[in-house]
């Protein structure tokens, strides 16, 4: 087996991992900061893909869809937080879990009613069709774009959290919401924004996945399972963990696909089991955290 094949395989794994990272990130941020296990995350990923497709066809450009869908669905997420989730803060963890579980069914059925349950074609943007010659092999332009875009989003998110005042408030709010309120910060607004951000990231993942997979109402359910696995491996609530674990899962799937293709999807669960045995709190999780 030659080296170029292994490099191509690694690259496929990173592209696959990038979509996982962006989706798991939204899940882990919402859990880490709000303590809400969002079971509607997969459905919102799917809604994001539909919104991206709809906005792209409305404006005639994929790029508007890519930009606007996460924003619109993020705002929709804030509405969900304001109307539904907000009432359940401070209650046990299973209340929001059940709520979002029910919500995911409503969203999926809603899309089925509006768009039908068949898949809808989501064309790759004109500029990114085809393959790029990397010297050692050909790789789809679109997947290279996804890798770069996810890297940029991660960097922006890191800078926003670590280097800005809002980021400081968010981090402090996650640590000790009561103290933040004493200091005069409207913590409700911070949580609203965080939930919107998490949902927006799910939608972004959906739009990015659109041109790679067929867009259909069930596309979120598989993604939700993957995002949870990534979140658990990385450590619940850990942003760095989501990034590392997402790439790890993507690359593991890819390398296993090379040697034992029929095991490709099982490997992530095996990886999760191994990590949980060695570090029950996940790779970057904090021991004893019960948000």
């Amino acid at each position: 087996m030659d080296l170029s094949l292994i490099i191509m395989q690694l690259l496929s794994g990173i592209a696959l991992g990038s979509v996982l990272v962006i989706t798991a990130l939204g899940l882990t941020i919402v859990f880490g900061m709000l303590g809400v296990v969002n079971f509607a995350h997969g459905a919102l990923f799917m809604i994001g893909a539909y919104a991206g497709l709809y906005l792209a066809s409305l404006t005639g450009s994929f790029w508007w869809g890519l930009l606007l869908a996460p924003i619109f669905i993020g705002v929709f997420g804030m509405l969900i937080e304001f109307v539904l989730i907000r009432r359940l803060y401070g209650r046990s963890i299973d209340d929001p879990l059940l709520l979002t579980f029910g919500l995911s069914y409503i969203l999926v059925e809603g899309v089925r009613i509006v768009f039908g349950s068949d898949g809808i074609p989501f064309p790759t943007p004109q500029q990114l069709i085809g393959v790029l010659d990397l010297g050692i092999g050909f790789f789809p332009r679109y997947r290279l774009f996804v890798i770069v875009l996810v890297a940029v989003v991660l960097l922006a998110l890191y800078l926003a959290l670590e280097k800005t005042r809002i980021g400081l408030i968010v981090r402090a709010g996650a640590r000790d919401p009561v103290m933040m309120q004493v200091l005069g910060v409207d913590i409700g607004r911070v949580w609203l924004a965080i939930f919107g951000l998490g949902v927006g990231l799910a939608a972004l993942g959906g739009v990015l996945a659109g041109p790679m997979r067929s867009v259909n109402p069930e596309m979120g359910s598989l993604v939700l399972a993957e995002a949870f696995v990534v979140t658990v491996i990385g450590g619940l609530g850990s942003i760095v963990g989501a990034v590392v674990a997402g790439l790890m899962v993507g690359i593991s799937i890819s390398l296993v696909a090379l040697f034992a293709p029929e095991m490709a999807t099982i490997v992530m669960f095996a990886l999760m089991a191994v990590v949980l045995l060695i570090r029950p709190q996940g790779l970057f999780g904090v021991r004893g955290r019960t948000a």
């Binding site: 191509m8 496929s12 696959l16 789809p140 997979r213 067929s214 293709p261 029929e262 490709a264 099982i266």
Partner: protein
């Protein structure tokens, strides 16, 4: 309330009379109604999950077949009713639903199931209860002696028929062939069919990759498939898996290097990913609406379907719903009722032409002998209208020669 409208006054006496009359009607012995009792056909199909699009088309077509018979006064004056159940693409669910259909709903026969694994579960149940089952799922094993029973009929094409026809159109001696295969019964049977066909032609396998059923991402299989440098890539999977696998293969530039071939090219999946992705992909099919130019039965099937479904055209897997239920009802008509032995007899003798030309069930294994189409997905610019999806490369007339022989299947001959 205006005076001109008088409210009917219900007196105590008439109310009592009405109630007792109703009670008498309900208490009437069942035997008295048996003559005009409806004929019930159970129809398990995966309405939810990755084959849902195909399943829904099957239901529409099955309902059409029932409606056409009812419009003509039913069978011996008895109306026909279709009982659709969601098998959720799960063998256990399908077995439970089928058992319920038989025990609780007292169906007279079962038609349906889309996945090959689920179909075998339905067959287990119907066989054990002695109920006729007309399968409309592709499978090679259901006709083999070990799964077969006199109650088992197979209306759909089987992997042996489609892969052979597709291979004859696309493979040549000395060609290199790679396989991407869904890791379950359907994929395995299609792979077996292709390998048998390519051996007969003299083409060589350069490798095969089994992928997990229902995977969303196929990108990780592409570098290795391309490194095998085949002339033809056979992708043997079904439903959304087909759409995703072809789409991602095309993204990786597979089509520049090799031809993509599938055992069964799916109308709905072609619609789901668009003409550019499917352009030039070749696959087998049981039906294509465009046959109406050559076939009178296709034209009348299309017309009936359009009339019942707001102008929409019937799809390949939909047609199975129509021919599966249609052939069963024709046999019941010939048998003059629902007596199982008589209907089995009638099905074995039946010559039918519902969608595309003459068909009959072969006596030894009850496989429907029928024509096989080979279709090629058209380029966007070559499409005359949005329904003009495929060019018909071949229309092989049905004959026993395209099936495995009865002795090969383990039947006494």
């Amino acid at each position: 309330m205006p005076n001109s409208v008088s409210t009917p006054k219900v007196t105590r006496r008439t109310a009592l009379a009405g109630l007792s009359a109703g009670a008498a009607l309900l208490a009437m012995p069942r035997i008295g109604r048996a003559a005009d009792e409806t004929i019930r056909i159970g129809f398990p199909t995966p309405l939810t999950g990755p084959f849902a699009a195909e399943a829904r088309d099957q239901v529409k077509c099955a309902e059409l077949a029932v409606k056409l018979v009812n419009d003509k006064g039913g069978i011996g004056g008895r109306k026909v009713e279709l009982l659709v159940r969601d098998d959720k693409l799960n063998a256990g669910e399908a077995a439970t639903r089928t058992l319920e259909l038989i025990e609780k709903d007292k169906v007279h026969a079962v038609v349906g199931a889309l996945s090959s694994a689920v179909q075998l579960a339905v067959n287990e149940v119907t066989r054990a209860r002695g109920v006729i089952y007309v399968s409309i799922s592709q499978s090679d094993t259901i006709n083999e002696a070990k799964d077969f029973s006199k109650f088992t009929f197979h209306e759909a094409l089987n992997p042996h028929m489609t892969t052979a026809a597709v291979a004859r159109q696309t493979l040549k001696k000395g060609m290199k062939v790679a396989h991407l295969v869904a890791d379950y019964a359907y994929g395995h049977e299609m792979l077996r069919g292709f390998k048998r066909a390519q051996a007969a032609i003299g083409a060589d396998s350069v490798g095969e990759i089994l992928h997990p059923f229902g995977a969303a991402d196929y990108s990780t299989f592409m570098p290795r498939l391309m490194s095998m440098r085949p002339d033809v890539l056979c992708i043997s999977n079904f439903g959304r898996d087909q759409a995703n696998a072809i789409k991602q293969a095309v993204d990786f530039g597979v089509k520049q290097q090799m031809k993509i071939v599938v055992p069964v090219i799916l109308h709905n999946q072609r619609l789901a990913v668009g003409p550019d992705v499917f352009e030039g992909v070749v696959g087998g099919a049981n039906y294509y609406w465009g046959l109406e130019a050559q076939s009178k039965s296709a034209a009348s099937f299309n017309a009936a379907f359009k009339a019942a479904n707001g102008g929409a055209i019937p799809t390949d897997y939909g047609a199975y719903g129509y021919s599966g239920v249609g052939s069963l009802l024709a046999a019941m008509q010939a048998a003059g009722g629902t007596d199982t032995d008589k209907v089995v007899d009638a099905l074995e003798k039946l010559q039918y032409d519902l969608t595309k030309g003459p068909q009959h069930y072969r006596k030894c294994d009850h496989q429907s002998v029928q024509s096989v189409l080979v279709l090629e997905s058209k380029k966007k610019s070559a499409m005359a209208n949005e329904n003009d999806l495929f060019a018909v490369l071949a229309n092989e007339a049905g004959s026993d020669d395209m099936l495995r022989s009865c002795s090969e299947l383990g039947h006494a001959t």
